[in-house]
C-alpha cells in the first residue's frame, strides 16, 4: 500500500489499538447476529467473531503474534472473570451447597468421560500423538488446558483452539441435547455444560438462568482441578 493510507496502515499495524478494536467489533457483530436470530444458540458469537477475524487477518497478511499484541488485553481478562464467578456462586450458595454429592459424582464421571472419549476416538481415527495429547484437556478453560497440554507433550496453541471449538460445540448443542434426554433440572443442566465446555458453555448457561450459570461456573472451576490431576496420571499409566 502507498500514499496516506499506506502510512496510516503502517502506524496502525504496530499498535495494539487496531486488533483490540477489531476483536471487540467482531464479537459485537456476532452478538448482534445472535440477537437478530432470536437468540438461537446455533449463531454462536465466538464462532462468528473467530471466522471474521481469521478472514481479515488472512486478507490483510497479518500474523497471529501481531494480532495477539492487541487482543491480549481481552485474553488477560479470563483470569479476573474466573475470580468473578465467585459472585453468582455466592448468590446461589444455599442451593449449591445442597448438591455436594451430585456435583462430586457428576464431576468425576464427566471429567473422565471428557478425557477418555476424546483421546480414544482420536486414537481410533488415527490422529497424531501431538494432536491426541492436545485434545486430552479440551473441556477445561483455555489457560489451564494449555498448561496441561504442555506438560504431557501436546501443543498449547492447538489445545487453545480445540478448547474453544469444544466450548462452541457445547454452547450450540447443549440445550437440544439436554431436552432430548428429558432433563429439566437447571442445576444438573448447568453443571453438565460447565464440565463439558468450560467458560463458553458457562456463558451460554447464564443466558438461560442464573442458577444454571452458577452451577456451570462451579463445574468449570472444579473440572479445571480434576482434569489437571487426571490427565497427567492417565498419561503416566497409558502413555
Amino acid at each position: 500500500m502507498t500514499g496516506p493510507f499506506g502510512d496510516i496502515w503502517v502506524y496502525l499495524s504496530t499498535t495494539p489499538l487496531l486488533w483490540l478494536t477489531g476483536t471487540l467489533a467482531a464479537y459485537l457483530l456476532g452478538v448482534t447476529l445472535f440477537e437478530r436470530a432470536g437468540r438461537n444458540p446455533v449463531v454462536q458469537p465466538v464462532a462468528v467473531a473467530v471466522v471474521i477475524l481469521v478472514v481479515v487477518l488472512l486478507v490483510s497478511g497479518t500474523d497471529y503474534d501481531t494480532y495477539f499484541e492487541g487482543a491480549q488485553f481481552v485474553h488477560f481478562l479470563l483470569g479476573p472473570a474466573t475470580v468473578a464467578l465467585a459472585v453468582p456462586l455466592f448468590a446461589q450458595w444455599k442451593r449449591v451447597s445442597r448438591s455436594v454429592l451430585p456435583m462430586a459424582a457428576a464431576l468425576v464421571a464427566g471429567s473422565l468421560t471428557a478425557v477418555i472419549s476424546a483421546v480414544g476416538i482420536a486414537i481410533i481415527l488415527g490422529a497424531s500423538r501431538e494432536s491426541v495429547m492436545s485434545l486430552a484437556p479440551k473441556s477445561v478453560t483455555t489457560p489451564i488446558a494449555m498448561g496441561i497440554a504442555e506438560k504431557i507433550g501436546g501443543l498449547p496453541s492447538l489445545t487453545a483452539v480445540l478448547v474453544i471449538l469444544t466450548g462452541i460445540i457445547g454452547a450450540m448443542t447443549a440445550t437440544p441435547l439436554l431436552n432430548l434426554l428429558g432433563l429439566k433440572d437447571f442445576a444438573a443442566r448447568g453443571f453438565a455444560i460447565g464440565v463439558a465446555s468450560h467458560g463458553i458453555g458457562t456463558a451460554r448457561a447464564f443466558q438461560v438462568s442464573e442458577l444454571a450459570g452458577a452451577f456451570a461456573g462451579i463445574a468449570m472451576g472444579l473440572n479445571a482441578l480434576a482434569t489437571a490431576v487426571i490427565v497427567p496420571l492417565l498419561v503416566r499409566f497409558f502413555g
Binding site: T23, V46, L78, V83, F90, P102, S157, L225
Partner: protein
Amino acid sequence: MIAALTILLACQLAGEVFVRLTGLPVPGPVMGLVFLLIGMAVRGAIPQDLRETANGLLSHLSLLFVPAGVGVILHFERIGSEWLALLAALLLSTWATIAVSALVFVGVSKLVGDPDGEPPAGDGAE
C-alpha cells in the same frame, strides 16, 4: 467499578502467589475464586459495586475466548490433514460428557433425596 476490579485482581494475585508457594495443582484464578468466596462469606453479603462489575464481566465471558480462538490460523495445515479425527473426537466427546454429567447429577440427586432435584418417579410425598 475500580474498587471491584481491584478486589478481583487482588484475589487473582493472592491465588497465583498461594498456588506457587504451596505447589498445589490448582490454577491461580480458581484459588482466587475461593478467596473471594471466603471474603464474601465473612462479610455475609456481596457489595453492590462488586456484583455489578462481576455481572458485567460474566455477561460477556465468551468474548474473552476470541483471541485464543483466532489462533486456529496457526494450525490450518494440521487441522486440514486430521480434520475427521479431531471433529469426531470433539463432537462425540462433548456430547458424551454433557449427557454423562447431567444424568449422573440427576441420578445421584434422586438417590440422596435432594428436595430441589427432579422428584423421584411415582413418589408424590413432597
